[in-house]
């Protein structure tokens, strides 16, 4: 399959959306683009599984063109299982995001254009096998977020947008230092390469890995809310419009986790082992700290944002543990968290649109007046706390099993501490659910029938919301009930990464 289609198709449709003037056409083109992306991603997954049966090369569907040949920069793409899984996730969330934002009125042309640029950045990032191309797409995805939050956001949106943009640009700057290190110190006969495969075959000497691994890892780590650089997450998520929050949590934070694996760990395996303990400490802090801070939040979006910090801590924990199962768990957690938070943000957005508040204390008894939305809220909450049968359980369990496998009291205590956070998760999720969903009906201080009349005619979800919810919920259930659908794609890919590490 031609991987460049993943970039070209959304790009053409995004530009096409700019050229039409009718609001309805703009939306239809965006929807068409979302559907086309999902179809492409599904085709890719299917073809990938077929080809993987016979082909044991690490990256399939490779394509290579010269770009800046004087600097050995190429446009080089190819996918392994992790990329395929991430592309699928992105396509799901993009389509759901476009559906959720169907009713955007202001500057809708720019809105959908920027969303698609963000998606292009994500696809390009996931398929790149050239460090320059990868970096290009990573940065391409930053400014659309800034614009989306700053223009269409709510609350202190300018502040959040700027904070997010600066922290992510700083992250990119660190990544940049990391990849220049890889460029200059991984030489074959004095020639420098950005080509990921060549760099992987000629790893850096250990002392250089020790220098450049932190740059790459912290750089990508900031994208995925590495403690103590997670501060952009709550502000950015809560100020963003619903679809942008979904993109941020669902796609953008995954860029970081994927980058940590693909660039930091895959290309600098010795550095990864050297810094493994430090990563675990930071990840554990993120997990616990995120969970405890969430307990104190009163705004639904902040609750989800801080719980994202906690959940993404599992991703980093899995990567830091460096055992095969743990890394698998990390990838699973990325997918699970992506689907789950996107759905959570979608539900919060739907509630907010009807009640005009996100404060937990100002709502109650929603189950009685909007049963569909409340049911989804409960499902996604349960997924977040790791109920078996839903995706969260599969992912977190794999991380814990993998972490426990690493011998040594240090690692096992880390596992225990991280696993303990689930209890805290249960506390904040169940408390929020109890207050918002159960109890007497209350919206914005109006209770009982008054509240119901206020909501009259809006309680049921519209078709676009329904479609988005079904899409994401299907993902959560499939992963929870039949995880092998995803794991079959991922496992061979993590094998290749683990082969780079000197212990198994």
């Amino acid at each position: 399959m031609n991987l460049s289609l993943l970039i070209i198709v959304p790009l053409i449709l995004a530009v096409a959306g700019l050229l039409v003037n009718n609001q309805k056409q703009v939306k239809l083109i965006a929807l068409a683009s979302g559907i086309a992306q999902l179809v492409l991603a599904c085709c890719l997954a299917f073809l990938f599984i077929e080809q993987r049966k016979t082909d044991r090369t690490t990256f399939l569907f490779q394509q290579q063109y010269e770009w800046f040949s004087n600097l050995n920069i190429g446009y080089f793409v190819g996918v392994d299982g992790i990329s395929v899984a991430m592309i699928l996730l992105t396509a799901f969330i993009v389509l759901a995001g476009i559906l959720i934002s169907w009713n955007v009125k202001r500057m809708s042309k720019e809105y959908f254009f920027l969303m698609q640029v963000l998606a292009i950045g994500a696809y390009g990032f996931f398929i790149s096998l050239d460090l320059f191309t990868l970096f290009f797409f990573l940065e391409l995805a930053v400014v659309p977020k800034f614009m989306l939050i700053g223009i269409w956001g709510s609350g202190k949106k300018e502040y959040s947008a700027m904070k997010l943009a600066l922290m992510l640009m700083a992250a990119s700057a660190l990544v940049f230092v990391g990849i220049t290190g890889l460029y200059y110190f991984s030489t074959t006969h004095g020639v420098h390469h950005f080509n990921l495969l060549t760099v992987a075959d000629n790893p850096l000497p250990l002392d250089k890995q020790k220098v450049f691994f932190p740059f790459a890892f912290i750089g990508f780590g900031i994208f995925t809310a590495l403690f103590p650089f997670h501060t952009w997450v709550p502000d950015g998520h809560s100020s963003a419009p619903t679809a942008a929050s979904m993109f941020l949590a669902g796609i953008s934070m995954k860029l970081g986790g994927y980058g940590c694996l693909r660039v930091a760990v895959y290309l600098m395996p010795d550095g990864a082992q050297f810094y493994s303990n430090a990563i675990i400490v930071l990840a554990c802090i993120a997990v616990l700290y995120g969970a405890f801070v969430t307990m104190m939040q009163t705004d639904l979006k902040y609750i989800n944002a801080y719980s994202s910090v906690s959940h993404c801590g599992f991703v980093l924990l899995g990567i830091g543990m460096l055992t095969k199962t743990a890394v698998n768990g990390a990838v699973l957690q990325m997918i699970s968290h992506g689907l789950m938070t996107a759905l959570f943000f979608a539900v919060i957005g739907m509630i907010y649109e009807r009640t005009h508040t996100r404060q937990v204390s100002k709502m109650g008894g929603l189950l009685k007046i909007m049963p569909f939305i409340s049911t989804i809220f409960v499902i996604v909450g349960l997924c977040s706390l790791g109920l078996p049968g839903l995706s969260g359980f599969v992912a977190e369990m794999t991380v814990f099993v993998g972490s426990w496998q690493r011998a040594g009291w240090y690692y096992q205590w880390a596992t225990i501490l991280a696993a303990a956070s689930i209890v805290v998760t249960a506390v904040y999720i169940l408390r929020a659910t109890a207050k918002v969903i159960m109890g007497p009906v209350k919206i914005n201080n109006s209770t009982g029938d008054a509240a119901i009349t206020e909501l009259y005619g809006k309680a049921n979800p519209y078709w676009n919301e329904r479609a988005a919810v079904y899409l994401l919920a299907a993902g959560i259930f499939i992963m929870g009930i039949a995880p092998f659908v995803v794991t079959d794609i991922i496992y061979p890919a993590t094998d290749f990464i683990m082969q780079k590490l000197s212990f198994k």
Partner: protein, 463 residues
């Protein structure tokens, strides 16, 4: 030499028109001048030869021809952008004559292979610019800017001459080829070199020689400011790369340290001062100090990579900076405002202009897919090979700082509510063409790798 001859012919033609007739229609004439400039730019692409003249004082080759074409192009764009302002100006013909004369000086500067020729070019490229800065005849600030520029320029020239004199005293020659062999690390020679470098530093307004920049940028009319920021600096940068890598190649260890220091200071101070500027032209002044700092730091890298990255970056800088100045010019012409805050809510009434400005700022900030990303990436990549990662990190984090103030303006335009009712800005066709060309340039020259490849091949073939 053809390009210089064509410029001279243009100057004389304008001079004759100026002397011969006194009832000309400004608009028609300016349009014709723009056509002539376009022809001049296009003819620059063929019929060029390489070789030396005037007893090796003047040299030209494919790379130098390309650099001159870039400058020709920048002049054309500046001329198009300042159409609205010039057509109401009493002395528009003099403006063109001076601008062309300064460009001629820049051409001689780039082509110089002798310190005297270099000085001649430097002066010819400098003095007319001071006059250009004075062209807002009714404004006191404009004459103040001109005076500041001419004073600091004269001071810089004096420093340069002092250094040049010292070099002559030490080596007995001013010829670049001979200097290349005779340059030594002796303290006296280094002393002379520092003075020469300081003289050049004034022209590119590198910290600590930057103090004139903000005032001159603010006071001078936008056309003169954009000329200063793009053509003056670009031409000096081109020749500086040659001076350092060829003439002073023997003392590369010394100048590399000096250049890194100057560059780091330029980047950091430019950034810090740009953060809180309230006047958009002052803001551009500090932004240009930072940008030149980035170019300077690339000079610390290996020769070929550094030179190609430098020329490539200057090319992109021409596109993006002129697009930004173009917006500033059209806004100023209609509203008379230069305040940063007056861009609040700019998007609402002028969406197209706001996007053009935003794209130009993205390019200056180095955000993909704009060309500025590629330019900056290659500059810093070049330097990464020869400095340690601490310096590299400092540079990379400075890019983040610069992103802040570029995005601040984007924020003002798109996210803030407008304070007062803003008028719709009318852009006449010629500036519109220029803005389109610049915007297209900032997009195309990056993603399409052809431009960089061409420059890199040229640099390889020449050096």
């Amino acid at each position: 030499m053809k390009q210089e001859l064509m410029l001279s012919a243009l100057i004389f033609l304008l001079l004759i028109i100026f002397l011969a007739s006194n009832n000309l229609v400004a608009e028609t004439l300016i349009k014709w001048i723009n056509v002539l400039l376009l022809v001049n730019f296009l003819l620059g692409f063929w019929g060029n030869s390489s070789g030396s003249l005037f007893g090796n004082m003047y040299h030209t080759n494919a790379l130098i021809v390309f650099q001159k074409n870039l400058l020709n192009f920048a002049l054309l764009i500046i001329s198009l952008l300042s159409y609205d302002w010039l057509k109401t100006h009493r002395h528009y013909l003099e403006f063109y004559i001076l601008m062309l004369a300064a460009l001629l000086g820049a051409f001689y500067l780039i082509s110089s292979r002798h310190l005297l020729m270099f000085f001649l070019g430097l002066e010819l490229a400098g003095i007319p610019v001071a006059l250009l800065a004075n062209f807002d005849l009714g404004k006191k600030r404009s004459s103040e800017a001109a005076l500041k520029y001419i004073m600091s320029s004269a001071f810089a020239s004096a420093m340069f001459l002092f250094g040049g004199g010292f070099i002559y005293a030490l080596t007995g020659t001013l010829d670049f080829f001979e200097l290349h062999q005779l340059a030594s690390g002796s303290p006296a020679f280094l002393f002379a070199f520092i003075f020469v470098l300081a003289g050049i530093g004034f022209k590119i307004s590198a910290v600590p020689f930057h103090l004139w920049t903000a005032d001159v940028y603010e006071g001078a009319p936008v056309a003169a400011t954009s000329y200063l920021s793009v053509i003056s600096k670009g031409s000096v940068m081109f020749i500086l790369a040659y001076l350092l890598f060829y003439v002073f190649n023997n003392i590369i260890g010394t100048w590399r340290a000096v250049i890194i220091l100057i560059a780091l200071f330029s980047i950091t101070l430019g950034n810090l001062f740009a953060l809180r500027q309230q006047n958009i032209k002052r803001f551009m002044a500090f932004s240009s100090i930072t940008q030149m700092g980035f170019v300077l730091i690339a000079l610390a890298a290996a020769k070929l990579m550094s030179t190609s990255a430098l020329i490539y970056f200057i090319m992109i800088y021409i596109f993006s900076n002129l697009a930004a100045f173009g917006i500033i010019a059209v806004v100023y012409n209609q509203t008379g405002s230069e305040a940063v805050n007056d861009f609040k809510g700019f998007y609402k009434k002028n969406p197209a202009l706001a996007w053009v400005f935003a794209l130009a700022l993205f390019s200056l900030a180095g955000i993909p897919p704009m060309a500025g990303f590629f330019g900056k990436f290659f500059l810093v990549l070049a330097v990464a090979g020869s400095v340690n990662y601490v310096i590299l990190t400092l540079v990379a984090l400075n890019i983040v700082l610069s992103v802040y103030y570029y995005l601040r303006i984007v924020k003002l335009m798109f996210m803030d509510a407008e304070e007062k009712d803003r008028e719709i800005i009318f852009v006449s066709p010629l500036p519109k063409i220029a803005l389109w060309v610049c915007t297209a340039g900032t997009i195309v020259t990056g993603v399409m790798s052809g431009a960089y490849e061409y420059i890199a091949t040229l640099v390889k073939s020449v050096w």
